[in-house]
Structure formats: structure tokens, C-alpha cells
Amino acid sequence: MPTYSVLVVDDEIDFMETLVNRLTRRKMEARGVPSGEAALALLNERTFDVILLDIKMPGAMDGMETLREIRQRHPLAQVILLTGHASLETSMEGMRLGAFDYLLKPVKFEDLLEKIGAALGKSQPVLP
């Protein structure tokens, strides 16, 4: 049973930490960062199978900006947008930029796990 790595990017520290703890407890390699910049910095060192990305974050890089960067540098990482601020426009924009899916906070943990599983299934590299 392979261990999958998950990165949680969210400025709501309480949420981010708790989610990391819960994922870790379920045998995933989970890490959390509070901003888009921090996420990109960490992604310079290593990659993740799944990235849970908040859209509305303070700082120079919001979720969309971060998503764009991630898609360029790590095309294999599956990004699931996870936000309390939902609109059809942002969700469509996210999907257009290549996000795997779009979830609205608060999300049932079981649903989240299911989504991560689906993303992982999709992220299996297709070998030539």
C-alpha cells in the first residue's frame, strides 16, 4: 500500500493544521503551509500527489495565481480547490486552469477523502 503525499494550502491555520493532522492519521504524508508563496517554496524542494488549495488568501499570490504556477511546474500534481468563497466564475476558472475538482467549505471529511482518492487514481502517471 503506497503512501500518498498531500499538501494543504490555507491561511486559516486552525483548519490547515487540523486537516493535516487528520490526513496524517490516515496514513498519508501530509504537510500544511499558510500561503501560496510558502507552497511554491516547498514545491521547489519536492512534489506532492495531491494539493488542497484555498482560493482566497492574503499575500501577493492568491489561490488562482498559485494554481497557475503549480500547473506549470508540477503538471502531475492534482489540485483540489477547497474554499468558503464559491462562485460559478471562480470554479469555472479553476477548472479551466486545470484543477481536478472544486469543493466548498465546510466539506464532509468522507467526501474529501473520496475526492482525494479519485484524484490519486487519476494522478497515476501514464507510462509510455
Partner: protein, 555 residues
């Protein structure tokens, strides 16, 4: 209030139209009547002028003939002959026999000293001396003379004609008295109508003939003959006193007498009164027609206006409702967004606590069950709050139309499938009645499914248990109709106005958010459709969704 405005408007329209329409009519009627009156008056005046003129000529001729006759006599006969009583008697007898209408009452010869030398006639005037009489010197000076009516020696009104004769150096006068009755009769022929009068006055206004009505010969007539100019026949109108008279006066040519025709206006205006009555009747009928038409038109116009206003009011009410929805949507979105993040933290923390409670040490705590149940409750209520905020976002969500190719029948089918279990356990039969060939339209599959889910779910909830739901699709006038009909208890009348308002619910506390129908309303509206319902308490409710047929773009 509103009725008062319309009543005032109607009165204004009626008032203005009546003034504008009736004024010219009345003015026209008045003008025509006035014109006619003037023409009528002119005609009367013409007639009277003609009559006065001809009558004065007749009198003129009468006097001149007699004057000429006397003139011929003095030329043909000498003073010696004429002063002989027998000769004069024979002459007088011959004259009267030959011409019975001559009107000579007597005939007399007066010598230069004024002595009446011979006389034939009913009065014994022979021997009177006329030297002192004013007419005597006038005849001697001018050769002929026609007198006004006067009493003279006979103490009886009469007129005389006197002509001067000349035999050698000797001057003398032939004088005749004219029968006044002949003059009277002659003038009387011009007395027209019931009230018409004709008479002669001298230059001082003294009656020379007997007037038909009040007044006697030789009395003053009260007229001022100088009002009538010489040589022409003048007509004037005299309104002094209670009655109005027309006067036509014509001066005689051979004598300073004025022949007057007098006519009472009311004697002549019979035709005029008839004309006036006709005009008044026509104007009155016209006014009546205008009044009826105006009132009728005003009524129609105002009623139409009221109807339009009512329509406008309904439209503005609809706009207000849409505005209300938009504002509420904006507010709801804001609130939902702000609440979602803390809600997520609560949810995750509760989940984390649940995770930790799984561990052995906690499990042995005497309160472990309490902890589990408390955490489960927290999770349950987070879930409840989540549904609300997500619904609020769904309610406000902007829709991008023409996302999918949608087969309505399939949407309905899928929804019914979802709810089939739920319905079956409540012993509710769902009947389908689909249009067999609905076109595929460009719309939002998921949103439509949300709406159908909502409507059918509501129908199930409304029935409770044991009942029927009929879901039908149809195609009408290039629009797709989807109806959901239940045989539940129906919606009470007092709630029917509010069922599309957000947060309005009749379901038990916690069972419904009150957002389902307002979200559905919002979705269908944004898809360019309408959603309506009919409900009869005790019989059931039918919701109708009406969607435009928008064909998908060719891909």
C-alpha cells in the same frame, strides 16, 4: 384615493371637451341666428320703405291732380265768369258728375281783397273775408297753396287747395275743399297686418289723417318729423316704451307732409321666432350629442388608463420582488461566505476530536460515550449549517446559461429515480406523463435537477404518506412545460403569497431551510423560464415550470 384621481381626471376631460366642442357650436348658432335676424330686418325695412314711398307718391299725385285741375279752371275761365254763382254751381256739378272720385267738397272764388264772392258747397261761406288768413297772402304771393288740415271758419278739420287766377290786371283765387275722408282711405290702404299703421303728419308732427290706433286728427303724434330726411325714405326703429316699432317715413314732393308707415316688430317676427326655435333645437340636440359622446369617451379612456395603471403596478411589483431577491441574494452570499470558514474549522476540529477519541486511553474514560455523542452532535449541526450556507450560495449563484445539452425527460427521470425509495416508503406513487419528443435544449442539467428534486421532494413532503404525484412534460408554443402535481392538502391561502420568499418554510423546525423554492425560482428565472403554481386547499397543488427552447450551439 385612486378612484378620486380617476374621477377628477374624468371630470377634467369631460369639462374641457365640452367647453371646446360646445363653445363653437353655440357661437355658430348665435352667429347664424344673428345673420338671419339682420336679413329679416332688412327685408321688413325694404318692404316698409317701398310701401311708404309708393303711398306718399299716391298722395302726392292726388294733391297735384287737384291742384292742376284748379289751375286749368283759372286759366280757362275769367274772374267774371267764375264769380257768377250759377256758373260756379254748374261747373262744380259738372266736375263732380264727370269724376266721382275727385273728392271736392266745395268750390269758392275769392277776390283780391279777400272777399268770398261766389261759393258752392255744404257750408254757407259766401261773404267771409279771408284777407287776414295766413294762406291768403301766400296764394297771392306764390300762385298756389295746399293747406294743412285745419278747423278754419267751419270748425271742422279740412284741407283746402287754393290757386291764384289772373284776368288782366285783376288777381283772384279759386279755392276748393278736399274731402278728408278720401285722403284717410288712401292712406289707410297702407295699414298692413294686425298692428300696422299708416298716417300723415305735417312738419310739426301733427296728425293730418286719422291714425289706426291711439291719436286723433290734428293732435300731436309725438313724433319728430325732422328725424326723417328730405327726399329719401327713411326707416328707423324705436324701442322706447314696451313695444318696438319700425317707422318708415317718406316726405311728399308737393307738400311738407310726411307719410309714415308704422309696424310693430312682434307683428313681423313670426318667421324669426320660428327660425330661432329651430336654431335653438339644433344647437340643443348637438350639445346633447356632444355631452353623451364626451361622457362615453371619457369613461372609456379613463377605464383604459386605470387598466394600464393596474398592469404597470403589477409589473413594478414584480420588479420590486426581483430587486428584493437580488438584494437578499447578495446578502445571503456575503453571510454564507463569512460563515463557511469558521464552520469548516469547527467541523475539522470536531472530526479531529473524534479521531483522537478512537485512541485506547480515551475509550476507557467513563465519559467516552458522552464525548462521542457530543462530537457527533457538533458534526451533525455543522452539517446542518453547511446545508444552509451552501443553499444560500446556490440561491445567489450566478448562472452561466447554455452549459449543457439538456434532455428534460432525462433530468426528470433521474430525479424521480433519486426519490423513488423515499416515495415508496411513504406509499406514494409517482406517475410519469412525458412528451415523447422534446427537443434537446441548452440549459444547466444540474440546476434543473436541483429544481426538480426540490419540487418533487416538496410534493412528497406535502402528501406525507399515501398519495399520488404526477410529473408531466409538454411542448407548447416553443416552450417546454414541466408540471409536478400532488394530491396533498394544498397550500393555505395566507401562505401562497410568500412561498417563493427565502427562509419561508412551513416544515417542522430543522426539516427545511426555506430556501428550496426561492432557489428554484431564482434558477428558473436565470434560465429564462418561469415557475408558477396553483393550489386548492384540500385538493392539492400543481407547480408548473416553463422553459424556453434554446437550441444548443453546434459543436
Amino acid at each position: 384615493m385612486e378612484r378620486l384621481i380617476y374621477r377628477r381626471l374624468r371630470l377634467q376631460i369631460i369639462g374641457l371637451t365640452l367647453v371646446v366642442a360646445i363653445t363653437p357650436l353655440v357661437l355658430l348658432g348665435g352667429a347664424i341666428y344673428n345673420q338671419f335676424e339682420r336679413a329679416h330686418e332688412a327685408r321688413i325695412e325694404d318692404q316698409m320703405r317701398l310701401l311708404a314711398n309708393s303711398q306718399s307718391s299716391v298722395v302726392d299725385v292726388f294733391l297735384r291732380e287737384r291742384t292742376n285741375l284748379l289751375g286749368i279752371l283759372v286759366e280757362r275761365h275769367s274772374f267774371d265768369e267764375m264769380s257768377r254763382q250759377e256758373f260756379l254751381e254748374r261747373l262744380f256739378e259738372t266736375l263732380n258728375r264727370r269724376s266721382d272720385m275727385l273728392g271736392l267738397v266745395d268750390l269758392g272764388v275769392i277776390d283780391a281783397s279777400g272777399l268770398h264772392v261766389s261759393y258752392v258747397g255744404p257750408f254757407n261761406l259766401k261773404g267771409f273775408n279771408y284777407e287776414q288768413q295766413p294762406w291768403f297772402s301766400e296764394v297771392m304771393a306764390k300762385g298756389k297753396y295746399v293747406s294743412d288740415v285745419y278747423m278754419g271758419f267751419r270748425l271742422f278739420p279740412h284741407i283746402i287747395i287754393a290757386v291764384r287766377g289772373r284776368t288782366g290786371e285783376h288777381q283772384w283765387i279759386l279755392r276748393a275743399t278736399i274731402d278728408l275722408e278720401m285722403l284717410n282711405q288712401m292712406v289707410r290702404t297702407a295699414q298692413a297686418g294686425r298692428m300696422g299703421d299708416a298716417f300723415i303728419v305735417n312738419q310739426n308732427g301733427v296728425y293730418q289723417t286719422q291714425p289706426r290706433f291711439d291719436g286723433q286728427i290734428l293732435e300731436g303724434s309725438g313724433m319728430d318729423p325732422k328725424r326723417f330726411s328730405q327726399g329719401v325714405t327713411t326707416v328707423s326703429k324705436d324701442s322706447s316704451g314696451r313695444v318696438t316699432y319700425y317707422y318708415a317715413g317718406s316726405w311728399l314732393k308737393s307738400k311738407n307732409w310726411l307719410l309714415v308707415i308704422r309696424q310693430r316688430t312682434d307683428d313681423e317676427v313670426g318667421g324669426l321666432v320660428h327660425t330661432r326655435n329651430t336654431a335653438v333645437t339644433i344647437v340643443a340636440l348637438g350639445v346633447l350629442a356632444i355631452v353623451i359622446t364626451t361622457v362615453f369617451i371619457a369613461h372609456i379612456v379613463v377605464r383604459h388608463l386605470a387598466a394600464v395603471q393596474k398592469e404597470l403596478d403589477a409589473m413594478s411589483a414584480q420588479l420590486v420582488q426581483a430587486d428584493k431577491m437580488a438584494a437578499l441574494g447578495k446578502m445571503a452570499t456575503g453571510i454564507a461566505h463569512e460563515i463557511n470558514n469558521p464552520l469548516a474549522v469547527i467541523g475539522e476540529k470536531a472530526g479531529w476530536m473524534k479521531d483522537l477519541l478512537e485512541e485506547e486511553e480515551f475509550r476507557q474514560s467513563p465519559n467516552a460515550e458522552e464525548y462521542f455523542s457530543a462530537v457527533a452532535k457538533i458534526e451533525e449541526h455543522v452539517e446542518r449549517a453547511r446545508k444552509i450556507t451552501h443553499n444560500m450560495l446556490g440561491f445567489a449563484r450566478r448562472m452561466e446559461p447554455r452549459l449543457d445539452d439538456v434532455e428534460i425527460n432525462r433530468v426528470v427521470d433521474q430525479t424521480i429515480e433519486l426519490l423513488a425509495n423515499h416515495a415508496r416508503t411513504n406509499n406514494i406513487n409517482i406517475h410519469k406523463r412525458y412528451h415523447p419528443s422534446l427537443p434537446v435544449i441548452a440549459s444547466d442539467h444540474a440546476k434543473l435537477q436541483q429544481v426538480m428534486l426540490n419540487l418533487i421532494n416538496n410534493a412528497i413532503d406535502a402528501i406525507g404518506s399515501n398519495g399520488n404525484i404526477e410529473v408531466a412534460t409538454a411542448l407548447e408554443d416553443n416552450r417546454i412545460l414541466v408540471s409536478v402535481k400532488d394530491d396533498g392538502p394544498g397550500i393555505p391561502k395566507e401562505y401562497q403569497r410568500n412561498i417563493f420568499d427565502p427562509f419561508f418554510t412551513t416544515k417542522a423546525n430543522g426539516r427545511g431551510t426555506g430556501l428550496g423554492l426561492s432557489i428554484s425560482y431564482s434558477i428558473i428565472e436565470k434560465l429564462g423560464g418561469t415557475i408558477t403554481f396553483e393550489s386548492e386547499p384540500g385538493k392539492g397543488t400543481i407547480f408548473r415550470v416553463n422553459l424556453p427552447v434554446v437550441l444548443p450551439e453546434k459543436k
